[in-house]
């Protein structure tokens, strides 16, 4: 591997790491902000202290998350320029405005009101405070909207034309923003954020219930989490299926890689479901394949014998790394079905009135605390590694998208980022675990409760 290949690979790895950390924090922000909005809404409506206790409990955790999330997000904004300069120059007229809008419409909304939300409970009336919580929750969803629109445009570019010097120029902003894969990506990711957070909250509740099944705070946490999983889990499977259909239309190589399909089977055989395989990029086939016939056709083409374009129908230079995409997809779908299954099981158990006493359910949810976020990360690996070798699909290759920065610089930034992120996020995770392990109690205090008392005339 020569220096420029190594530089490209390191730049890609660095981007993957920075965005991997950030997306989990962003998803927690979206999930928790909306959960907090629900809790505060319930408190204002039902006037029960237990909702405000839970609100303040999770508000402290939200405060931790916002601090680290902002920091990681800042890096993303600038990383397009530091490491992907050519992509920025060539596609900046299109993805730049989308990211600008994210800051303007969404991030500012969150950042502007989060101060009141975290520290202003005693400073402003309940209506203004609830408005602040809602602003933060809606801001987080607006953020997802714009970032995913920009990301989706890279996968399914639309509404553009070329300038005389070969840059992407916008022609129709509505077509750009609502490009073909955007709606599917937006829904799939929003569900993922809610599902991931639901398992995190559910696991916290389960942990408390295992020690004391009568704890009212734990019961409400767990119940709200399980409702979310029961509703969103199955919907996510449907959303994923529709997203996959859309991907098949616009990025067939990605779906072929997800399936590990090197050669199209004869029509009557249909696509198999490959439970396991070791893809071989040099020989362009799989080893040790374990497959069930026809099942693949059911979810890929909704028929018994439909087939998809296979990897060998494309030039080798146009297909993504197969093994990573193949295994990440299996992991994501496996976790997805497991989560949906837990959701449905919880409904049955709830109907029998045993939701707070069924220990195996609590243990399972506790073990599955990171399941939603793991599935989400796997999904992002599928879609982003599956987008290779392109940055703008079919139009601009990753190898042509990087900045003219030398290997020594990228190596140094890569190592520094790993060091700082592991250290900072590690400490954050420890504080998070400590905060979650404490039992929420009556008269729970918010983050920095003295701040409101000590500030002001």
């Amino acid at each position: 591997m020569d220096a420029s290949d190594a530089t490209l690979l390191l730049a890609r790895a660095q981007f993957g790491i920075t965005i991997g950390f950030h997306i989990v924090l962003a998803a927690v922000s979206i999930g928790l902000a909306n959960f907090l909005m629900a809790l505060e809404g319930l408190w204002l409506w039902r006037k029960k202290q237990v909702y405000m206790d839970l609100y303040k409990f999770w508000l402290k955790i939200f405060a931790l998350n916002v601090a680290v999330g902002t920091a990681s997000g800042l890096v993303m904004e600038f990383e397009f320029g530091t490491n992907w300069g050519r992509l920025s120059t060539v596609a900046g007229s299109i993805i730049g405005p989308l990211m600008f809008l994210e800051v303007m419409v969404a991030f500012f909304l969150e950042a502007g009101f989060v101060g009141i939300m975290l520290f202003g409970l005693k400073k402003v009336g309940p209506k203004l405070h609830f408005f602040s919580t809602c602003a933060v929750a809606i801001g987080s969803l607006f953020s997802a909207f714009w970032i995913l629109s920009a990301n989706s445009w890279l996968h399914t570019p639309a509404g553009y034309t070329f300038s005389p010097d070969g840059r992407f120029f916008p022609q129709d902003w509505l077509e750009i923003i609502f490009n073909p894969s955007f709606p599917y990506r937006m829904i799939h990711m929003s569900f993922a954020a809610f599902l991931g957070t639901a398992f995190m909250v559910g696991a916290a509740g389960a942990w408390q219930l295992l020690r004391d099944p009568s704890n009212p705070h734990a019961r409400i946490m767990f119940s709200m989490a399980m409702w979310t999983v029961a509703i969103v889990g199955p919907m996510q499977i449907v959303a994923g299926d529709l997203h996959g259909e859309n991907t098949l239309e616009h990025q067939p190589q990605k779906v072929a890689a997800m399936e590990g399909s090197w050669d199209r089977p004869p029509h009557f055989q249909g696509e198999p479901l490959r439970l396991f395989a070791i893809p071989d990029m040099s020989e362009k086939r799989n080893h040790y394949e374990l497959a069930i016939p026809h099942i693949g056709s059911l979810y890929l083409r909704h028929s018994w014998t439909g087939t998809i374009k296979s990897l060998n129908e494309f030039p080798l230079s146009d297909i993504p790394p197969v093994a990573i995409v193949f295994f990440a997809f299996r992991a994501m779908v496996g976790l997805g079905f497991l989560m949906a299954g837990i959701g449905i099981a919880s409904l049955v158990i709830r109907k029998r009135g045993r939701l707070y006493n069924t220990r195996w359910l609590h243990m399972t949810v506790l073990l599955m605390a990171p399941a939603g976020f793991l599935a989400m990360l796997c999904g992002w690996v599928v879609t982003e590694v599956g987008r290779q070798p392109f940055t703008v699909y079919g139009l601009l290759r990753t190898a042509q998208s990087s900045s003219p920065v030398s290997l020594s610089f990228v190596t140094t930034s890569f190592m520094s980022i790993i060091g700082v992120y592991v250290f900072v996020f590690g400490i954050g995770l420890i504080y998070l675990m400590r905060a979650i392990a404490i039992t929420p109690k009556k008269g729970e205090k918010g983050p920095e409760p003295q701040l409101a008392n000590e500030t002001g005339q």
Partner: protein, 337 residues
């Protein structure tokens, strides 16, 4: 009435410049408070200092994200060249900002006093280094960046020079002054008195440092700094600077404690304006102009529309955020950690 391309480019540049200036004013103050942790070691003082910026630092930092986003959207070639050229100091600044934000928010989770001091070191160090590297990046920009065909064309070390390091140090002094004036406004008793002393010391040396930068920039000949020597440009700059200086020194006798901060903000805005006047029409000295770096006209126009409508709204609710946490900060009895 169609607006000319040139006007659109200037307005677009104005939007980016406004975002960066707002960032410098707002987060410069927060960073200054962090830097002052180095000289304010008392635990109660630090507690008050941290509380003064906790509710607002996140929103303040967002203006930097807006500036970066605006640059990408409206001048993508400049964004790419600038960030590739400033690779090392930008990453160092970003990592420092991570330490600053996380240390500040995690401060009160520290279970022992010794651990809290480590958080304070991270907070102070992060603030100091973030400021320093912002100054270095500014100096690196002024001294020029080699580029060709919309791509950076240097070895990666062009930013590293005596000039850029000096700019970094001056910005540290400048943000510290903002921080000291902020604390003079927001605190009472001994911290209020200490901040007044610190502000006066910094304000005494900064004009000299700025004069050095002016002379040095003239010598670099990468920007149109000679405009400062002309009467229509240099005249107003000097008059404004002198007015704010007089206002600053007289403001300490007044009832309103926000006056010194506003005088220093006047300095910052004047200096920023002077720099822009020296740079126009360049966006990357010495040779990349606004038209050359611009994105599609449709992108710039769209962004200007969004900016024009949303920035006033953003300023309004940000002001609300500030207003909710207004007033002096008085630490209640010593907290147990």
């Amino acid at each position: 009435m169609p607006l000319s391309d040139e006007l659109i480019h200037v307005l677009a540049a104005g939007a980016v410049a406004f975002s960066i200036l707002t960032y410098v004013i707002l987060d410069g103050t927060d960073l200054g408070v962090g830097i002052l942790f180095a000289v304010n070691r008392n635990a109660r003082h630090r507690h008050v200092m941290a509380f003064s910026i906790l509710p607002i630092w996140d929103g303040n930092e967002t203006w930097l994200v807006l500036g970066g986003g605006g640059l990408l959207a409206m001048f993508p070639a400049a964004y790419s060249i600038f960030l590739s050229a400033m690779y090392a100091p930008i990453f160092l600044m970003l990592l420092s900002l991570i330490f600053r934000g996380v240390a500040l928010e995690f401060r009160d989770r520290a279970e022992t006093e010794k651990r809290q001091r480590w958080h304070d070191v991270a907070f102070m160090g992060g603030s100091l280094l973030a400021t320093f590297f912002q100054g270095v990046v500014l100096g690196g920009l002024i001294q020029g960046i080699p580029h060709m065909d919309g791509q950076y064309r240097g070895g990666g070390w062009d930013w590293f020079s005596a000039f850029s390091i000096f700019c970094g140090l001056v910005l540290v002094a400048g943000y510290s002054l903002l921080g000291a004036c902020w604390l003079y406004w927001r605190t009472t008793d001994d911290l209020h008195a200490k901040s007044r002393r610190q502000a006066k010391i910094l304000a005494a040396i900064i004009p000299a440092l700025l004069a050095v930068i002016v002379v040095w920039t003239l010598g670099l000949q990468t920007v149109h700094a000679q405009r400062w020597l002309t009467l229509p440009v240099g005249g107003p700059i000097i008059i404004l600077f002198v007015c704010f200086t007089i206002w600053f020194w007289r403001s300490f006798n007044r009832k309103h404690h926000f006056l010194p901060l506003f005088a220093v903000l006047g300095w910052f805005i004047t200096a920023y304006g002077a720099m822009i006047l020296a740079m126009y029409p360049l966006i990357i000295p010495p040779s990349l102009t606004l038209p050359q770096a611009s994105s599609a006209r449709l992108s710039q126009v769209f962004m200007l529309g969004v900016f024009g409508i949303l920035v006033p709204i953003t300023l309004a609710y940000s002001t609300l955020g500030f207003w909710v946490f207004r007033g002096k900060i008085r630490a209640k009895e010593r907290r147990q950690t």
